[in-house]
Structures are given as C-alpha cells and as structure tokens.
C-alpha cells in the first residue's frame, strides 16, 4: 500500500513529464547523457536529505512562513554540501559542482517539501523523494539521450561510445534550446496519448 508513495513518482506523477516541474534545469542540462547522470546523482542526494530534514522539522514550522523556511533550509543545505564537496573531494566537485547550484532553483525540491514532506511522516517522505528521484532521473536521461543522439549523431558517456555515429550531418538544433522544447513536447504528448499521466 505505502509502496505506492515510491512508484507514483516514476510514471503517474513523474516530476518532469507528469507534474511538469523543474523545467529550467531539465531543459538546460539535457544536452548530453553524461550531464543527466551527474544531475540525477546530485538531485537525488539533495531532494532526499533536505526533504527528510523538513519532514523532521515540520512540527516547528508555522503555516504562514512555511515557504520561506523551506527555501532557507534547502538553499543553505545545498550550499553547505557544495562547500564540503569542494573542500574534501575536489574530483567529485569537478563532476557535480556545476549542477549543485542549479538544484537550489529546482522547484521539484520545494514542491515536494510543500506538497508532501511537510504533511507526512519521515518514512513516507523517504519513499516519496526516492520515487521522485527515479522519475526525474529517468525523464532527463531519456530527454538527454534523444537530444544527444539526434543533435550529435552519437552518444558518448564518460569517453565510451554507447552508440556510434548514425547521422553524417546531425541537426545541431537538437542540442540547442529549441531541441529541448521539441523533445520535451513530443514526450509529453506521447505520455498523454498513452494515458500514463
């Protein structure tokens, strides 16, 4: 029964394709599969921990000032994590450093805090945010895969060529901003038509 709190984030309430949240980072970073992997990792880390924190503190947060309080908690938490990674693991920082500040403005994190973590017990919050992380990761991986494949004609992840060149002159627009909207729109339409969301 409660497992549904986990699974709903994957398809039915997929944060990107179902709830249509977090579009700014989604559109910006899905130019390569490699970026999507980095973003997925950083996102999972931040949304799970910051929402657990909010769920733990929910009794002390008055309704009237809940949004500013959430923002202070999320933004400070992300900044602290960024400083710690920068100081103690420079190589990890090199990979994830540019994604962490983008997460502060990712409204999925705030959205789940408002809609879920501030009302539900910690255990359900854990399931909810894990599900959202899987859903977000899947969505940006699919979008970035399609954009990289059609925009550059191949897919290269950490130096390994996953899919060799299939197009001799790929339409570069796919890795430019218009390609993001195009792929996103088509995926949304497909999901709607298939009745998934």
């Amino acid at each position: 029964m409660r497992l549904q709190e986990f699974t709903k984030g994957i398809l039915k309430k997929n944060p990107v394709l179902g709830l249509v949240l977090g579009l700014c980072p989604t559109l910006a970073i899905t130019t390569r599969v490699e970026n999507a992997l980095g973003m997925s990792l950083a996102f999972t880390f931040v949304i799970v921990l910051s929402n657990l924190l909010i769920s733990l503190l929910k009794r002390f947060i008055p309704r009237d000032v809940r949004i500013p309080t959430f923002i202070v908690i999320i933004a400070s938490f992300v900044t602290i994590v960024e400083m710690l990674i920068h100081g103690y693991s420079p190589s990890l920082y090199e990979q994830l450093g540019i994604f962490l500040p983008l997460i502060t403005v990712n409204c999925i994190v705030l959205g789940r805090a408002e809609a879920f973590a501030s009302k539900r017990p910690v255990s359900e919050t854990l399931l909810d945010t894990l599900g959202m992380s899987v859903g977000f990761s899947l969505a940006i991986l699919v979008i970035s895969f399609l954009r990289e494949l059609f925009g550059t004609g191949k897919v290269v992840v950490f130096g390994y060529q996953v899919i060799p060149g299939i197009l001799s002159s790929p339409p570069v627009g796919m890795i430019l901003p218009p390609g993001a909207f195009l792929v996103m729109g088509i995926l949304l339409a497909v999901m709607k038509k298939a009745g998934v969301v």
């Binding site: 970073i29 309080t69 900044t79 400083m83 103690y88 570069v172």
Partner: protein, 172 residues
C-alpha cells in the same frame, strides 16, 4: 497587544535564518582553507598540462616554468566574464611570446553548450598563436568557436588576449 499567534511565525523564521546562517558561516570557515588548497593543487596540475615536465615558481601571480634550470615559459591566471558568470582561465606563453597552451580552471557556462569551451578541440587552436592571431573566425580570425556558444567562445578569446598581453608586458 501582539498575540502569541503573530509572534511565533516571525520568531521561527528569524531563528531558522540565524541557525542556518551560523551553519553556513561555520562550514565556510571550516572548508575555506581546504578549498583554497584544492584550488592551488588544481592550478599546479593544470600548469603541468601546459608545461609537462617543468617546475614552477610563483611571483606576484605570475608563474615562471623551468626545465633543468632553463626558462621554458610563463603562465598567468585571468578572470573573464562568460555567459554564466565568472570564468577563470590559465594562459601559458613561450619565451617567444606565442601561446603555449590554454586551460579553463573554472566556469559557470551551460553544460553541453558553453561548457564545451573546456574541450581540447577548441583550446588546442590557441597553441602557437601570436597576440594578433587570437581572434575568432566569426570576428575575422582563425579560431573556430564552439557551435551555439559564441559568447562563451568570445570570453575565452578575450581571456587569452588579456592573459597574453599581461605576460608580454611582464616578460620585459
């Protein structure tokens, strides 16, 4: 009279800000030194990419590069405004005043677009160029910018130019 109902939200928000502000300050002072060291180590690693078997000496922000007691080059770090904010570029020069190599130390460019200025295919074009040759193809030069990232490419070109100018002035 102000009731308890009005005071509580304000008090909680103030306390939240104070606590997190303090945590941020603590983390900052705890990690400041380590971050600086990490950046220093990174800088020297990057220098070794431009001058592989050289040793480096620092002088007022300029670096001289020595191989077996012979001066083989100079390097300097330049800051430039890119598309996504501050960009730190390391510019190396040979004693004859041409570019020995260019590396991006940090940047805030868009991943997949502007961030591609850090790729070797773009940066290797600067090697061997004189000051007058550091111009984008779009602006009448020979350096091919990154597709869809003219602003980022121009920022690197500007950084290399000002770095090289500084080095030439300093060499004299």
């Amino acid at each position: 009279m102000v009731g308890k109902e009005e005071v509580r939200p304000v008090a909680v928000l103030v306390i939240t800000c104070l606590v997190w502000g303090a945590l941020l300050g603590l983390t900052h002072s705890a990690t400041e030194k380590r971050i600086e060291e990490a950046e220093r180590a990174e800088l020297y690693r990057t220098l070794s990419q431009i001058f592989p078997s050289a040793q480096f000496k620092e002088e007022n922000g300029y670096y001289t590069c020595w191989e077996n007691g012979v001066l083989v080059g100079y390097a300097v770090e330049v800051e430039e405004r890119g598309y996504g904010g501050k960009m730190r570029v390391l510019v190396g020069a040979l004693p004859d005043g041409t570019v020995a190599g260019v590396r991006i130390l940090s940047h805030g460019e868009t991943p997949g677009l502007g961030a591609r200025v850090t790729e070797e295919t773009f940066l290797e074009q600067f090697r061997g160029k004189e000051l007058g040759g550091v111009v984008l193809k779009k602006d009448g030069g020979e350096i091919e910018g990154v597709t869809g990232a003219t602003i980022s490419s121009r920022a690197v070109v500007r950084a290399v130019r000002s770095g090289l100018e500084n080095l030439l002035r300093w060499m004299e």
